[in-house]
Amino acid sequence: MLSGRNRPPLAIRNVMHSWRRSAAAIAGMAFAIVMVFLQLGFLEAVKITAAVNFDQLDFDILLLSPNYEQFYDPGSFPRSRLRQADALPGVQSARPLYAGLNLWRCPPYPLRDASTSDASRDPLSINALERWWLGDERPRALQRREMLVLGVDLDQPPFSEPIQSQLAAATERLRLRDRVLLNERSNPDFGWDLVDQFDGWEIGTLPVTVVGGFSLERSFGADASALCNAATYERAFGQPGLAAAAVNFGVIRTEPGQRDAVLAALADTLPPDVQPWSRRDIYRFERDYWVRHTATGKIFSFGVIVTMLVALIVIYQVLSNDVRNRLPEYATLKAMGYTVWGLGRSVLLQAIIYALLAYLPAVLLSLGIYRVTASLAHIPMVMTVRNLALVLALTVLISVGSGYLVVRRLRWADPADLF
């Protein structure tokens, strides 16, 4: 055996020696990894937006109608159930939340063109890139679009920060008739930027006044929202007496450590027209709905699987080409007395080096593409530690697996073939 063959190891010398070829191979692998990241990011966006509304609610237990489908179609249950829940030992508070979709009268842009807005450019013909470029400045006509309307009892606000303090600051203004807060993060079409210049706001057919803002992430279910008191809410939905009769969400806070006891007590004492949910269960249920029962969720899940397969093929191709390239050298080494296993170790090591070298730029590139997608498509693209680890593990695993398949080729590296 040759002395010092491991200093530096053959694998590293292989990578360094023909660095341009290595760079091409690594770039191929990196692109395949970026694809996987991209699809995982889309799927993650579906999961994140499923949770944004619950993130803003301050609860240990949520009361929901058995007809609850997802946040935007929650069903309702008798308000008296909240009083019953409030009376149970261990319950700190049981607060109502009303939620439903309704039409919002979106101001035209520019505002002064309101009368002739039809003459301005059709807002729908502006593509995503232009929308991003023009931002809030793109021309659009007066329109009515669907938004999420949240109604609360101002004396028992059910939110957590930051909405809780935003609501507290505006409470007295919201007590007046037909006053609302508009979500500052709504799609710009809903007119948050024109809040001081426009006064023709309506929810459904109810004229309202915007007295401030609050901040809630957009989601696949609604790209805008407004917040008002229960009385305004029932007027906006044209159902007087609604707020006193039925609520959509019962937001329950328990004494510390009492959650499970209260959960059991609620299930025991309340009739079957309402169901108690723990925080973990409702998050899981909602995520499950958006990932498994909506077309978007299914498509992105499927995209993850397909891109993983593609990544597998690319990585195998890259590694087997690389070994093929060096076959004469391997044959020489074999002739010099290296065992197939010794060479194999070096190939596997090289596969891991390639995997790591491809992974790092792929993460950086993915972060860039995430940002572009997030700002073009207005969906939260987040790189999670879980996805980082998952892709890293997959990359290394596929590389080692491909490396192993390739090593078997080395057996054919017959020194006699050299000439």
Partner: protein, 392 residues
């Protein structure tokens, strides 16, 4: 294809097909990229398509909607009376009201679970034949009876249970019998649909009842034209007579408007465009790897040809022919695999997924470009095919 003078050996083809396993592996790579592009494109057009399924199958020429109606699934109706003035416009054969309701109150009781799920209700007079969907004509006038409806067979079973003729349950707490099924499909906003006649709609959605019939809120006004008239001219004439709260569009204009909303405003277009571009790049990377391996393995043969006097250009031609064959074969395989996947996904998601001719042409061109670029890049390796190296 480049041939040696005096002989006719299709070098590129033979190179590519020499080793069956290797060819299969190469094709697998290319066709996966093709499948990826088909999928992204299919998802995109499938989603856009499913959003306009109702309009696509409307049996009418012009459509009247409320002016502020941004997309069809957002409710904004106008009084039935608006259709009166349209009927007398020359060239108009008939006008028909149509109702589309998706609201939080309109819930179907799933007979197996007892849960009430929101469902879309479409309504018109059966005699008007406004929708041409499989199953509706077959149902005849069975749904003209009170408290009956037809159900979309593609409605999500987990939510509604399985719809069969004769099924009885409740809509908004009131009895209803399913007397037949039709085939339409789900979309972002509706997981299922019922079709019923006007009287039934007013029965189940009493908030639509008005004292005078002319005030009845309707969602769409369908206008049929007489044979041989110029649709644009009639459309202008109708627009001139209509008050400012409604607008009239041709079917294509309405489809276009709906799809542009989902493509541009709701961010679906971008998501799938980015996926498609990545598919293209990865496809080019795969193709490059395959061709590079091809060249590398035959470097000595290429060197021999060079020694015989062939120029680099001719050799590059061979590589490009190989990339062309690879593109065509990979495309065919990818196309067939995509068809199979689409059929499976159609069943799984209920989305309208189909391989459209125009898109398949675009994807074919993309595949050719992808492989040619890869061939040109890999072809640079040919320069290292030195005859002198043959015996080194």
């Amino acid at each position: 294809m480049p041939r040696l003078p005096g002989r006719s050996i299709p070098i590129a083809w033979r190179n590519l097909t020499e080793n069956g396993w290797r060819l299969a592996a190469s094709l697998l790579g290319v066709s996966f990229a093709v499948v990826l592009m088909f999928l992204e494109d299919g998802f995109r057009s499938g989603l856009l398509q499913s959003m306009v399924a109702v309009i696509e199958n409307l049996n009418g020429d012009l459509i009247i909607t409320h002016k502020g109606r941004y997309i069809l699934s957002e409710p904004l109706s106008f009084p039935l009376r608006r259709l009166d003035s349209v009927r007398s416009v020359p060239g108009v054969a008939s006008t028909h009201p149509m109702y589309l309701a998706v609201d939080a109150q309109t819930r179907w009781r799933n007979p197996s679970s007892g849960l009430r799920r929101r469902i879309r209700v479409i309504a018109y007079d059966p005699a008007d034949h406004l929708l041409t969907l499989p199953g509706i004509d077959e149902a005849g006038d069975s749904w003209s009876r009170p408290e009956t409806a037809l159900a979309d067979i593609h409605s999500k079973r987990v939510f509604y249970g399985s719809f069969e003729p004769g099924l009885r349950s409740e809509l908004r707490g009131r009895e209803i019998t399913i007397v037949g099924t039709f085939s339409m499909g789900t979309d972002f906003r509706a997981s299922g649909s019922l079709l019923m006649n006007e009287q039934n709609l007013l029965r189940y959605l009493p908030e639509r009842q008005t004292e005078r019939q002319g005030d009845t809120p309707i969602d769409l006004g369908i206008v049929r034209l007489e044979e041989g008239v110029n649709p644009q001219a009639v459309q202008r004439a109708i627009a001139a007579r209509l008050p400012g709260d409604v607008r009239i569009l041709s079917r294509d204009e309405l489809i276009h408007k709906e799809q542009r909303f989902w493509e541009n405003v709701a961010p679906l277009g971008v998501v799938f465009d980015i996926g498609m571009i990545m598919g293209f790049i990865v496809g080019a990377a795969i193709c490059y790897q395959v061709l590079f391996a091809e060249i590398f393995d035959r470097l000595s043969q290429f060197a021999t040809l060079k020694a015989m006097g062939y120029r680099d250009g001719t050799l590059l031609g061979i590589v490009l022919s190989e990339s062309f064959y690879l593109a065509v074969l990979g495309y065919v395989v990818g196309f067939l695999v995509s068809m199979g996947l689409f059929a499976w996904l159609r069943k799984e998601t209920g989305l309208v997924l189909e391989v459209r001719f125009a898109n398949s042409v675009v994807i074919f061109v993309l595949t050719l470009v992808m492989c040619t670029v890869a061939g040109l890049l890999a072809g640079r390796k040919l320069r290292s095919a030195e005859p002198a190296n043959l015996f080194s």
